[in-house]
Amino acid sequence: MDARRLPFCALWIAMLAACTPKDVGFVEIKTFPVATPATMLYLDSVKLEPLKSGSAVLRQQVGTAKLAVEAGGGQMALLCDIVVRKNRITTVTISLLERPPRCQCRNTAVVEPPAVRSCIG
């Protein structure tokens, strides 16, 4: 192959790789009791739309996402980590009865050292 074309080929391959859809999984968030629109939830710093009927199923890139809630004064309070695996759903229920709100995982991931609660699908 012509050596001058190599950089273009590399660029082309890089562009193709960038266009390939990333692996995704799902996060199901439920709130108990049903959250009011005033409850602001964030998944990896992305503000979530108010949950319809206190529940939402969201697509999320594979990896560990952080679920947080906006506490008073615009401060963010980390609730738990959510481990998202390819084509799998991780379910978490947020108990709003407790102060601060608490994550209840359907399945809890074992992490070392145990820091914040970690939910897995």
Partner: protein
């Protein structure tokens, strides 16, 4: 196995209503054109049409998935090979994920649905205050948009119930796959125990032979 059904009637109604409004447009378009409002009319119905189109595509995928599920359920029943079963469940999980992806709350279809609903509600509010039309024309338009809004709301609700069912299905498949994984681990643990038993038997055999050999050694002159 349950197949996922989607409310054909509501989707159909949305489409019919959409078409009805499109066909209702020509007699009104002259007036709208005079008012310099043609693009606004096109934009008004576009979100609803987009939503209907995407719902139709999804409906077709549901049919394909139903068949795949039935085939897979039959196949899984016949398998004794855990690896094959695991592969089959994994494939099925991929198919369900594809559909769940289409109906997630942050997916394109849900966004289109919300947009269509907002548009229908806004349009109703606008029409109620509109003074351009004769009362009977205004009533007709309001009635059409009201039906459209109701049908879009119903379609959105059905989308929500499809979302719940796909999520539940995915969870069931995950649990089954995890159970199979546990079975594989038990089988592997059993294999390890078999190997240990075999090794113990071999050592005991060697030990017996050695004992026999030692027993056979007689000191000179004994």
């Amino acid at each position: 196995m349950d197949t996922v059904s989607f409310g054909h009637s509501a989707v159909g109604r949305v489409l019919v209503m959409g078409l009805a409004l499109v066909f209702a447009a020509p007699p009104l378009s002259a007036r709208a054109f005079a008012a310099g409002n043609t693009s606004a009319r096109g934009d008004a119905i576009a979100p609803v049409e987009d939503f209907s189109r995407e719902l139709d595509k999804l409906k077709n995928s549901f049919g394909e998935l139903g068949k795949k599920m039935d085939d897979s359920a039959k196949a899984i029943d016949g398998y004794t090979d855990v690896e094959k079963t695991r592969k089959e469940i994994e494939d099925l999980r991929g198919a369900v994920s594809g559909l769940l992806d289409a109906v997630t709350d942050n997916g394109a279809l849900a966004t289109l649905g919300d947009k269509a609903l907002t548009r229908a509600r806004d349009k109703l509010k606008e029409l109620e205050q509109d003074t351009r039309f004769k009362p009977e024309e205004k009533n007709f338009l309001i009635e059409q948009w009201r039906k459209l809004r109701d049908d879009t709301e119903r379609a959105n609700q059905e989308l929500g119930s499809a979302r719940s069912r796909f999520a539940e299905l995915l969870r069931t498949l995950q649990a089954n796959e995890d159970f199979i994984d546990e079975l594989v681990q038990i089988r592997q643990a059993q294999k390890v125990i078999d190997v240990i038993h075999q090794l113990t038997r071999d050592i005991r055999g060697a030990s017996d032979q050695l004992q026999h050999l030692i027993g056979g050694i007689k000191p000179p002159g004994a």
